[in-house]
Amino acid sequence: MAEQITNKDIAREENLVFKRTGVLTDKVMHYCPGCGHGTVHRLIAEVIEEMNIQSDCIGVTPVGCSVLMYNYLDVDMQEAAHGRAPALATAIKRLQPDKFVFTYQGDGDLAAIGTAETIHAANRGENFTIFFINNGIYGMTGGQMAPTTLPEMKSSTSPYGRDVKMMGNPLKMTELVAQLPGTYYVTRQAVHTPRDVRKAKKAIRKAFENQKLEKGLSLVEIVSNCNSGWKMTPVQANEWMVENMFPFYPLGDLKVDGEMAK
């Protein structure tokens, strides 16, 4: 009889086929189970590792659920005031043009309080990358209506559903920003299936690599869920996102290499 193979025999360096990227720290993430933030954080970290730019990266975190992103990503980071990340990133990139600079912002941060900073940084063609996580709600403050909350969608400040006559329409910032001459790459992705995760990672990599070309801003929107804010289970939230968010915020490239996608 052959010798018994133990776990110790299996867990050897030469058998290793997958490990967590070293650009993520060991800190346990505070995100709700099923939330997309953790996945997007890991994709950004993996791309940074694969491009070998950890020592050349400076990130800017927003106000919102991902305010503590700097606890999880092992790169130099600045914490912006609500909505102002593109202003910080403008200065960082102009003062250190050889660095890879990115902001990570939610929908309230980027599309409500920070609308001016987003549009003007994009229009100036600032040469950094924006990661925009759109879950249609203010998650951290307890599920209030966001600029991206869908018509009729319920939130704690639209408890009977978003009445667009009274509360205004959802803002499609990504479509808006794609029109501006200063943007070079604008795309909308998701991370709810392995296939989408792989596509999103490619987009994140392209957005980082574009910084070397110095041709303007790259923006990657990730349509994500907020199962606790939406008051659903993680599975229900993903299903609801596919059925309701994707028709309003269709996935795919809006602008590639400075040209509007067909």
């Binding site: 503590l68 700097y70 130099d76 600045q78 914490e79 005031a81 403008t90 102009r94």
Partner: protein, 355 residues
């Protein structure tokens, strides 16, 4: 070698910033300080020193660019006038709360609201008491000449970096717009090495740098606040600056800064010609405030008149310093009106000597 030029106060700020080796200026136009940005754009400092100059989309964006640049360990300047400075307060609170250095120029105009475009000193409270949310202070320098506008740029940057705290030059439309001869320092090189806290990219084997003012643990947040307060006490011990004019034999004291102090110099002469022994104390740092000097003077004079182009703001700090020892009153004009030397003497006679 130093160089002599005839410049507006606002232009002197810009030229001094280039020469001090500033790394960037971010600002938004507003009267009466737009010459600062105009001069910088015309001078092409990116060719002279590599300095970045950018016209932002708002004062809010500008101060947050300052924040981002300051967090990279660079010397960053911004400027505005009263309504624009109000918009910068959130950013200044973050910069102070993240312990970052920067220099902010406020060329004050009359308020409140949109107010006037004429000179005023009605932003004293906002400048010296913090201005934004939370327990923090700015280092506040008050120039009274175009020469000091230039000199305080380097001083402001030096103090800001020494204490890792935003510094402000608090001036007004009169000094910003008037032309005087000014000796300019020779060109200093821009920094090539940056402080260890600066976000310049994580070095292999070293800890990453995180610039933030957030601490969800209130015990840690209080500890941090105590550290800030300790820093402000150190400023009060080490950085108080003032000028005394005819104070030795003074029986009455005028206290005034900036434009008001220049006008008060003439008032001192007029009063002395009338046989009234008046001295002038000119605070140069408004925070830290020269409270010990004023307390000392309170033991020597019969009364103190605070002269400000406001409804009376600095007078509160004088009263606190004097501790009720002598009579303190205020005289000032508002809304962009500048007092005359004569009406200051009349106010002294009526409010302090006769009152």
């Amino acid at each position: 070698m130093k160089e002599l030029k005839l410049l507006k106060g606002n232009e002197a700020i810009s030229e001094a910033a280039i020469r001090a080796g500033a790394d960037a200026y971010f600002g938004y136009p507003i009267t009466p300080q737009s010459e600062i940005l105009e001069y910088l754009m015309a001078e092409k400092p990116h060719e002279r020193t590599g300095m970045v100059v950018l016209q932002a989309e708002s004062e809010v964006a500008a101060i947050n660019m300052v924040y981002g640049g300051a967090a990279c360990g660079r010397k960053i300047l911004t400027s505005s006038s009263s309504p624009g400075i109000s918009l910068k307060q959130e950013g200044l609170s973050y910069i102070a709360g993240s312990e970052l250095p920067c220099l902010v120029v406020n060329v004050v105009r009359g308020g409140p609201g949109l107010g006037t475009i004429q000179p005023s000193q009605s932003d004293y409270f906002q400048a010296t008491k913090g201005g934004g949310h939370g327990d923090y202070r700015l280092i506040v320098l008050a120039p009274s000449s175009v020469q000091e506008m230039a000199d305080f740029v380097k001083l402001g940057f030096d103090l800001a970096f020494k204490y890792r705290n935003p510094a402000m030059i608090l001036t007004d439309g009169a000094i910003g717009q008037m032309m005087e001869k000014v000796w300019l320092e020779e060109q200093q090189p821009r920094m090539t090495e940056f402080p260890e806290w600066a976000t310049t990219g994580k070095k292999p084997g070293k800890e990453r740098r995180i610039v933030t003012s957030l601490d969800l643990d209130s015990a840690m947040q209080e500890k941090f606040n105590r550290k800030l307060q300790e820093k402000y006490r150190k400023m009060e011990e080490n950085e108080v600056r003032f000028e005394e004019i005819d104070c030795e034999d003074a029986e009455y004291l005028l206290v005034a800064y900036g434009t008001s102090a220049r006008i008060c110099q003439k008032s001192v002469k007029i009063a002395r010609e009338k046989g009234i022994k008046v001295g002038l104390l000119r605070p140069i740092t408004l925070f830290p405030f020269p409270k010990n000097k004023i307390k000392e003077m309170a033991g020597k004079v019969k009364g103190i008149l605070s002269v400000e182009m406001s409804a009376g703001q600095m007078v509160e700090d004088i009263r606190i310093s004097v501790e009720g020892k002598v009579k303190v009153d205020h005289f000032g004009r508002m809304g962009g009106i500048i007092h005359s030397s004569e009406e200051i003497v009349t106010a002294l006679e009526q409010k302090i000597i006769g009152g």
